[in-house]
Structures are given as structure tokens and as C-alpha cells.
């Protein structure tokens, strides 16, 4: 049985699994889907009141929270949809054009 982490674009067909079955859970975590982004949210920490409205609205897992504080974006899975900017009541999130965050 081959693990997902041992399969890559060089793996010959003989080593792949029938039907492309994946014999473990949560493998999407390791897959960088942030590269699909064409717009990027930027976090302004000084304007954030940590109201936590953006966190449940994020359709993915791009807003980490630690000790009741919202941290900066985790761009690994952020698709740049802009929902967080839309729901933020403060000027704490702004969208910029392109896949990388810049001011």
C-alpha cells in the first residue's frame, strides 16, 4: 500500500493505486491551493478589533486564531475570494490585485 506523500508526478503507473484510491485522510492539507489565487487579502493588525467575524466566513482555512486573537492570513489554502474583506466591519482587511500580498 502506497501513501499519498510517496506519490508524485514521477511515480510509474505500476505503483499507483487502482482507481486513484487514497488510503489515508486529510491529504488536502498538504496540497498548496493558494497558488490558484488572483486576488489577495492583506491583514492590517493595528486596525483589527478581533471581533472574529471573518473567521467563520472564510470558506477555507486561511485565518488562524490563537489565544482569542486573529493572526495574519495563512495563504496556503486562500483562494482570494474576498469574503473576509466584505464582512470585516473595520479597515483591517484590504484586497490587492495579484496572487501575492503587498501594500
Amino acid at each position: 500500500m502506497i501513501n499519498a506523500q510517496d506519490i508524485n508526478e514521477k511515480t510509474p503507473w505500476q505503483d499507483l493505486t487502482p482507481g486513484g484510491e487514497i488510503y489515508e485522510a486529510g491529504t488536502a492539507r498538504a496540497f498548496n491551493t493558494g497558488v490558484w489565487r488572483t486576488n489577495t487579502p492583506v491583514f492590517h493588525a493595528q486596525a483589527c478589533k478581533h471581533c472574529m467575524l471573518c473567521v467563520p466566513f472564510c470558506p477555507d482555512s486561511a485565518i488562524p486564531v490563537k489565544d482569542g486573537k486573529r493572526l495574519d492570513f495563512n495563504y496556503m489554502h486562500c483562494k482570494g475570494c474576498g469574503i473576509c474583506e466584505n464582512v470585516c466591519p473595520f479597515p483591517a482587511i484590504t484586497m490587492v490585485t495579484g496572487g501575492v500580498p503587498h501594500d
Binding site: 503507473w13 487502482p18 482507481g19 486513484g20 484510491e21 488510503y23
Partner: protein, 396 residues
Amino acid sequence: MIKQLSGNEAVAYALKQLNPDVMGAFPITPSTEIPEYFAQYVADGQVNTEFVTVESEHSSMSVCIAAQAAGARTVCATSSCGLALMYELLYVAASCRLPITLVCVNRALSGPININNDHSDSMGARDSGWIQIYAENNQEAYDNVIMAMPIGETPWVRLPVMTCMDGFITSHAVENMQLLDSDVVKRFVGEYKPENYLLKKENPLAVGPYDISAYYMEHKVLQAEAMKAAKARILEVAAEFERISGRSYGLLEEYRMEDAELALVLIGSTAGTAKAAVDRLREKGVKAGLVKIRVFRPFPGQELAKALAGTRAVAVMDKSEGFSANGGPLFSETCSALYDCKERPYLINIVYGLGGRDVTTGDIEKLFGRLANIAETGDIGSVYTHMGQRSREEIA
């Protein structure tokens, strides 16, 4: 045990003996009776199958795919447009490598709408990645269903199996047939024990993930290799089946081919009619024979080439019109099977029996007459013609 059963009754009885975990059930003529009879077995507590009544064939196949992936043994039955509505899911079942058993009671595809027999439904699904096994009569319809699971579930095959029989001709006509004891059938098919399945809690599994172009081709090669490997497994299962039943099956059946110079290649119930015609011609001294293709997928190309090796003229009979303008699907397969032979017979294609158009022993004898003429003169005439239609012209 000898019984008088219709093809549908026989198949429903086989399914009862197999006692699958799940049946995706949706009616369509002429396969309706299969889930209908089976529902009675469920109601009477003779099976412990989860009988899922759905709103379409797209859903009955979806039920089978989901349940089989979960670790269940699943079955369903359909015909014609029902199979067409499953089309997308047929490919999903095969590419997910789920050994579902589907009984296809062959009926013409719409349109024009027609409920009678030809092979246009299952021939349309011939490239979907399913193993296809065709029955000549009720006995074979019963036997093929019992052999389906041991073939498809083999770890190095893992492919869905479609067993086909001719609508009405086989599905509704009652014949004497030999049934196996239920205990014998149970022992023959055993328990379904997939190595991985969704409900195996020690090992989470993802089935049918998105395949980018870096992987799709590799998975298709795996599927193609499984289909090639299925040939040997089908013969192995047939040998095991012969031990419990005394009935012997191959990938194809050769009938009076030992010294045949003129031969037919065909599929399904017409083989019965054609065998009677062959017998009659043999009495007149004509060296006639036929090859009945039992397994169409995987296609027994080498075996067919060997069977036809000594013949002079062959008619390939297609019970579906592929609209290739170059002959039907069985004709294409036969042509490519014979291409590498040094001594090839003259080959013609006859498309016949569409939408339930009858074919008689007289039609078959006439066809052998045409083959005799071709063998003698070397003049093939039209390679690809239809048989049985009304025409202003005389049909050879």
C-alpha cells in the same frame, strides 16, 4: 434441479441465491421483472438485501457505486435508455474499479422509441470499461450472473461486470433450465472481502479523487491492464463453474467449426437460431459453422482469429447499427482480430435484427448461400449490408 423459468425469473433467482448487500432498483422494459421478482424475495425475508428504490437509472447506478465503495456487494438491472441514462456512472464505476454486477436486458435504444431487442444499448457502453458477457439463452443468463462476482471481485481484476441477455427473446421466454443449489452458489461466490472500503474504520479511504493530467493516463493504463488480465480470470471462473454445474464456457463458443469453410460470427440468442440452420446445412453437406462471442469485453481477438483460421468466407452479424458507415462494432473487432492472420477469409458484415426484427433459420440459410457464392467466386459485393428490412431491391 430442473425448472421452467423465463430469463428474468432465472436472473432474479440467481440474485436471490447470491443475496447481495444492496440493489439499486429502477424499472424499465424488458428488465423490470428482475427488480420486481427480487422485491418479492426482499418482502418475504428470503434475502437480506438493502433494496433501494430510486428515481432514475442514473441514481440506481449511483447507489451501487456508493454502496460498493463502502464495502457492499451490489447489483442492478436495466435496459435500453436506462443504461443510456447510467452512461456517466458506468465510467465512474469502472474507473473507481468497483466490481458491481449489472444485468442488461438488451433492448433497442430510442429513437424511434422501441421496446424490443437489439444490442444498441450495451454496444453503446462497450468502451465504458465494463466486462461484458452475453447469454444465448436462459441457462446462460442464469450462469453468467453467478460467474460475474468471482470474476469482477478478483483483486487483480476489480472491474464491474455487465451480463447481457436478449430482451423478450430470452428475458420473457420460458425454457427448461438447470438451477444450482443455493448452498453451492453461496460457496462458489464466497464473501465479498475488498482490501479497502469506505466503512473500514481503521483505514480512512478516499474514492474517486480528481485526477489531473499528471495522473489520469497512468490510472487508465491500470484499468486497461486489468481488462487484459480479466481474460484469464474469466476462463478460470468458467473452469470452477464447470466443476459445480457440469456446464462449460469459454470466451467464445465454436459450433461445428472443426472443418467449417463458411461461418458466422454473432452474439446472443440468434446463435440458437443459427445453430439450427447450421445443422440443416450440414445435413446437406455444406461445411457451415458459427462462432458465438460470449465475452465481448475483454474481446477475445486471438481466440476468434484461431477459430476462423480455416474458413473461406465469414459473415459477421451485428445486432446494432454503429453508424460508422463502415460496419457494426462486432465487425470492426473481427476485422482487427484477423488482420495479423496470413490466410484471411473473405469477410462481410450483416446488420440485422434491429428493434426486434425477427431473424429465422431461413434468413440464416440464405446468408450461408451468399457466403458460398463469395467463397466460390471471390466476389464479396457490398461488404456492409443490412438484413431483414423491406426493400424495393432484392436483398442477398
